[in-house]
Symmetry: C2
Subunit: 393 residues, 2 copies
Amino acid sequence: MRPSPPSETFPAQTPAAAQIFTIVLSHGPLTRAEIARRAALSPAAVTKAVRPLIETGYLLEDIDEEHRRVLGRPANPVRVDGDRALFLGVKVTGDEIIAVLTDLCCRIRVARHIPLGDRQPGGVLATLSDLVLELRTAAEEFGAPVKGMGVAVSGDVDRAEGMVRYSPFLDWRDVPLANLAAMTTGLPVTVDNDVRALTVAEQWFGAGVGLSDFALVTVGAGIGCGLVVGGRVVSGAHGVAGEIGHLSLDPAGPPCHCGNRGCVEAIASDSAIVRDVRAATGIDVADAAEALELAHRGDAGAREVYARAGAAIGRAIGSVVNLLGPERVIISGEGLAAYDLFAERIRDTFAASAFGAAARCDVRTRPLPFEEWARGAAATAIQSFIRSDPPKE
Amino acid sequence: MRPSPPSETFPAQTPAAAQIFTIVLSHGPLTRAEIARRAALSPAAVTKAVRPLIETGYLLEDIDEEHRRVLGRPANPVRVDGDRALFLGVKVTGDEIIAVLTDLCCRIRVARHIPLGDRQPGGVLATLSDLVLELRTAAEEFGAPVKGMGVAVSGDVDRAEGMVRYSPFLDWRDVPLANLAAMTTGLPVTVDNDVRALTVAEQWFGAGVGLSDFALVTVGAGIGCGLVVGGRVVSGAHGVAGEIGHLSLDPAGPPCHCGNRGCVEAIASDSAIVRDVRAATGIDVADAAEALELAHRGDAGAREVYARAGAAIGRAIGSVVNLLGPERVIISGEGLAAYDLFAERIRDTFAASAFGAAARCDVRTRPLPFEEWARGAAATAIQSFIRSDPPKE
């Protein structure tokens, strides 16, 4: 690996080159012929795009003289050199900041958690700066440049503008987080909705690899959804997409913080479950963990609350599947801790609400701790780097 | 235009060539430079792909010697020669078959309506054969070959397999319509869901031109939805997508033919409105037209039924917008006749259910009579022809 100035940009000058690199990142090592097939490009175009990526050290060629001799043109598989660049990924929750240092292959090298005292933008940026400094110091031993940072926040986030338009858990409105974080850290910063960021990581490295259409549904403090349609993460014309938590399921249902009634989030989020468990049992559970414990001890009222939450999630997944017909729905989030309590109702309700062949969709669970969400943020930074998105610096 | 054998295939050998032709079809006349910009391809690649399309007469170049002299490379705009090929488009409803003969630019040349006596597949195919014969005779005067037929049917349709899996209005299950119609007519046949077919026409020639993300919501006998995400019509991994009619809005709502309760279709379809107007007014209206007349005469009970239907449609559009964040939602369908009765409620309910910036979505109406739906079917046949989909013959 050759050293390079931090300002050096990625040598993929065309969308096709960025596409090729992403394919190798996700599926490599691959031969040029395999890349051409997956990208629907000519082998000549792939050979041309791969050359500068090898010359600058972003791709490595596994030398195999036998292959080379047999086929006449370079037939050795190429793969991404993970050591070539480093990235930071940060997930901001209402309680803490989780940050990871990853390599170019999005493998976590270092992870840090830090409690969040002050949720105001200024306080979050100060905590973030400390973490970034710590991770950049840790990065020095790996001898590669840190090329960018991704920050993942729940709520209505406009990635193109780098703007957090509305985050209920942080109580933020219209915070230009990408610019602020870029000024504080000196790094190119990508800001995205946390579930969309996690969806990018799942698409590239997780349960979405090789699927052109899938949904990731996250259950916990909020109910979120990342959508991949035709191979692309849906981001919405105005930055809003995947708001499964605000699908309206019942006009007579409980009020939601968004102003409507009967939203999925008003029935199945942690705070909704705590509220309903208190009402059903008369026991003043402090939080989702206590509500869960009560249900796990067999309290019938608490168990019924989880079953109702499961029915709401199942109906919401049915809506996603009826509209988009994905190949797979991945259920994740910290709410998976309660999965034994609502799994059956999710499955039954989903099966009942799916229309026709849409019910064939593969619905599965996958535990993804918050470090994976921070890794998702790093994946968005890698994505911006590969695509040479205009940096917020 | 040179004559050609009917078996002649389209000379676009690569996905890029099909993409280029589609861009010219939708946006032409365009110069090669303009095509290159829209397709994100190099001008050289466009020039190479355009050449065989001009040589075989599918594209025409508008000769303009001044342009040619100024810029050094062919700068004349190219456009599709609509006279080069003809297509048939057929929409099958529960009551009639509507068929059109279009040119390659999907302009309707001849249109025919015929009542449907027998809804069994055999009866529909017999009626269809008569219509096809009539339209092929009419086609002779245009001197171009009929290159394919599209058939649009409501319900769960698998285009890739050419299979009508389930059509409630025809009461069909697992009918291999593409193969049957191809055997009867000798034409390559494309079968698609009717709303998806209309969506293709809207994307290429209608209110969706230039938009990468939009939804078409159709209101009438059923409630349907076509979705374009990232520039592509969503078809679902298992052939089901856009089933907005079976979004579940109210667990205590009226039963739906799909087996659930409170689906949009169980509240806002023609038959649901007729049922509810009868119940609200005690007047035994015969059909949607009579229900509408009653409401237009000012009957408060009937008007309230339409308002409730409008609220259901508005909430359903809110769900689509919260999940996908389209730039535009186009409302159409024969139910537009009642639009004055539910427009306000659609808008209010949509605005209340849209989350954050998603509410900026442009929601508009557009009357599209059944001939336009048949034209949509022709558009799918043109699409199959351009993409050289394996024919069902």
